[in-house]
């Protein structure tokens, strides 16, 4: 099975070959490196930009205004904060400008903790991003979704932000990308650039197929009626693992929803599950003041207060200045498996 970063690379290849992507660019995105996480190796439209995040966003906007289809990368979302006003304008230009211009750009940014990244390679961005009206924001938690969400991001004529969970970039999925070879070693040989001199290296792309994960379509990755657990990105597989352990240990079965889309999000899926379970927990690692998960919590309370059996709750990252390098800091800053198990168990077992 492909890793998540290989899936992104294959999606970008599909995008530039069949979906009109004209430019894939950012810092170290082009050869020889092909991205600090290797997401852009071997792509024919990939190029290196100056070290200038505002220039990256502005140029992507200009390319999109002029009819191109850019995929821009901010190397880590931690370095996207100085582009916030440009992101706002990318999101509001259509509304402010009476609908004159579409802006079909994709911005991909590795996001979140899990690579021992210290203060500036561990930020989360989805709560900030959720305030950027006019954007669409997605966050995959497995390679196949990354492929399908990236293709949807490319064909959508609006600005779409693809947040890539850093901790999962090297993780393999359990489903193949359509067209991906059966042999993982063969895939690596075909599309991973060799370490060292790669001046004469050329990728051999598999015969990939079109596969879309529609925007705002959540995935129900575990099913049960003990409680509803909503997550995405790095914490999603941890929630699924926690649900599996609680099923083994306590016979409790959970609805675990991979939201996949931050905005728009799949409210129907959340509502349906909450109506079934009456118990609600949202888990993510962004800081708790103020967190996108709180918005979901607010809607659950506003719209389903009398359908709830116990108080709904969140498990979020702590409101602290950063994630420290010593793993004591990271483990005690953002949700880890034991805390997730505890939180899921608590929401399922509180007496109604």
């Amino acid at each position: 099975m492909a890793t998540l970063v290989q899936a992104v690379r294959m999606a970008l290849h599909y995008g530039e070959t069949y979906l009109g992507v004209t430019d894939i660019f950012g810092e170290d995105v082009g050869p020889p490196l092909g991205g600090v996480f290797t997401a852009t190796q071997g792509l024919k439209t990939a190029w290196n930009s100056p070290l200038d995040e505002r220039g990256i966003i502005g140029t992507a906007m200009g390319i999109a205004y002029a009819g191109g289809r850019p995929v821009a990368e901010i190397q880590f979302c931690d370095y996207g904060f100085n582009t916030t006003d440009l992101l706002k304008v990318a999101g509001n230009q259509r509304w402010a400008g009476a609908g004159h211009f579409d802006l079909p750009l994709v911005l991909m940014m590795p996001s979140g903790s899990g690579i021992r990244g210290s203060l500036y390679h561990s930020h989360s961005f989805e709560s900030w991003a959720s305030r950027l009206a006019g954007w669409k924001i997605v966050m995959p938690s497995n390679p196949l979704d990354a492929y399908g969400l990236m293709l949807s991001a490319i064909v959508d004529p609006n600005p779409v932000m693809v947040l890539l969970p850093k901790a999962l970039l090297r993780v393999r999925g359990d489903q193949r990308i359509p067209g991906e070879p059966e042999d993982d070693a063969l895939l690596k040989e075909m599309i991973d650039a060799p370490v060292g001199d790669r001046t004469r290296w050329q990728p051999r792309w598999p015969d990939l197929k079109e596969y879309f994960v529609l925007l705002a379509q959540a995935a129900l990755v575990r099913e049960g009626d003990a409680a509803t657990v909503v997550s995405y990105g790095r914490t999603l597989p941890l929630c699924a693992q926690a649900a599996d352990e609680l099923e083994r240990e306590a016979g409790l079965c959970f609805d675990v929803i991979d939201l996949r889309g931050i905005f728009p999000y799949d409210w129907k899926a959340i509502r349906k599950s909450v109506l079934k379970t009456g118990r609600f927990l949202v888990v993510n690692e962004d800081t708790e003041v103020t967190n996108f998960g709180e918005h979901l919590l607010r809607r659950v309370i506003d719209e389903h207060f009398y359908d709830l059996l116990v108080r709904p709750r969140v498990l979020l990252g702590q409101h602290i200045p950063g994630i420290g390098l010593n793993q004591v800091y990271e483990r005690n800053s953002v949700p880890q498996l034991p805390a997730i198990i505890e939180a899921i168990k608590a929401v399922a077992t509180e007496l109604a």
Partner: protein, 370 residues
């Protein structure tokens, strides 16, 4: 020295019929130093300047009468912007010029053919405002048909977008260029440097006309109190970007400076920087009172003196141009007063373009996901 060509790229040159009909004007010219322009073109430029000023002054009145709220615009920049707009290669898509304007470029839009009523509609916040549906401040234009990228209040960000449109134009071929305009104060933002860096990547130099309309002010802060550089165009030297400083209050000199700059960008497919010294005749905006400034040169008065001295206009004709412009804005503002305003149902409109892959918003935004 042979006189320079005057109109080879004048795509938007719309000479008034009455000017064409005056045989006596045919051979007359207006000169500044070694530069000259034919009399009929000068009359056309004068008309654009006066009409734009009348529109802006009406908008200022609207900001004080309650017909509008905030006003910001370009009185004092009409000379430069008129000749800029007249030489734009106007159209849609990369074969034509892309325009990354700021909020003092009204005369360029009028020169390109924008009806005055459209500026007044934006000031009046009508549903018929074609630039923003009554959402944005005046002077914040947007026009896909003419490649006018939506103007934002955020200072200088347009300089980060210019390399993107220019990159597509360079690949497209032809002579379309990107024109980016801003003030002198905004050049302190890093986005100005972004434009210099991104337009001169080796092997990827871009056809961008980088314009700085230098009015010497950033709201209440004088340029000389916060800037040490003598000429802004000198910043281009480190990047090999040629440039020129022109008296932006003189339409004859400005016409030729713009033409030279555009010719360079169109033919060399590389950036060029043009700094135009201009006036700011009503202060920063309505927030500073929008009162007439008396101690800065008025490009319209200066041009009229020149036209009078050349015998191309007499005072009676000047008065008629002003009266006609006044009548035009009177009629426009009367019409705007009766036009529909936005309704609550308009709040979501134009947030999203239709999408085949969006389950919740296949057409446009409709409120929170349901």
């Amino acid at each position: 020295m042979p006189s320079r060509k005057t109109s080879s790229n004048a795509t938007n040159k719309q000479v008034p019929p009455e000017a064409n009909g005056r045989a006596a004007l045919a051979d007359q010219v207006v000169t500044t130093g070694k530069d000259s322009l034919p009399a009929d073109l000068c009359l056309h430029i004068h008309s654009i300047m006066v009409r734009t000023r009348a529109m802006e002054e009406r908008m200022i009145k609207m900001s004080k009468s309650g017909e509008g709220y905030f006003w910001i615009g370009g009185p004092g920049e009409e000379a430069f912007n008129s000749v800029l707009g007249l030489q734009v290669k106007k159209g849609s898509g990369p074969a034509y010029d892309y325009l990354h304007f700021h909020y003092r470029n009204s005369a360029a839009l009028v020169a390109m053919g924008m009806p005055l009523i459209d500026g007044i509609r934006q000031m009046g916040m009508t549903a018929t405002d074609p630039h923003s549906r009554g959402r944005n401040f005046p002077g914040h234009y947007s026009c896909r048909e003419w490649n006018v990228i939506p103007v934002s209040s955020v200072i200088e960000i347009q300089y980060t977008m210019a390399p993107g449109t220019a990159l597509v134009q360079k690949r497209h071929g032809g002579d379309g260029i990107t024109i980016v305009c801003g003030g002198d104060a905004g050049t302190a933002e890093g986005d100005f440097a972004t434009c210099l860096v991104w337009s001169t990547r080796p092997g990827n130099e871009l056809p961008i006309l980088i314009v700085v309309e230098n009015n010497n002010w950033g709201i209440s802060t004088s340029a000389c109190s916060v800037h040490g550089e003598k000429r802004i165009i000198d910043r281009g030297k480190a990047f090999g970007i040629p440039g020129d400083v022109v008296d932006g209050n003189d339409p004859v000199a400005s016409w030729h400076a713009v033409q030279k700059a555009m010719d360079y960008c169109r033919s060399r497919r590389r950036p060029y920087m043009l700094e135009a010294t201009v006036s700011r005749l009503y202060g920063h905006s309505s927030s500073s009172g929008a009162l007439r400034v008396k101690n800065e040169p008025d490009c319209i008065l200066l041009f009229e003196e020149k036209l009078l001295a050349a015998g191309i206009l007499d005072q009676q004709m000047i008065d008629r141009v002003h009266a006609d412009a006044q009548a035009e804005v009177d009629a426009a503002s009367d019409q705007v007063a009766d036009e529909p305003r936005p309704v609550p149902e308009d709040v979501y409109k134009d947030t999203y373009a239709p999408s085949k892959v969006d389950v919740v918003y296949p057409e446009d935004y409709t409120g929170l996901p349901d």
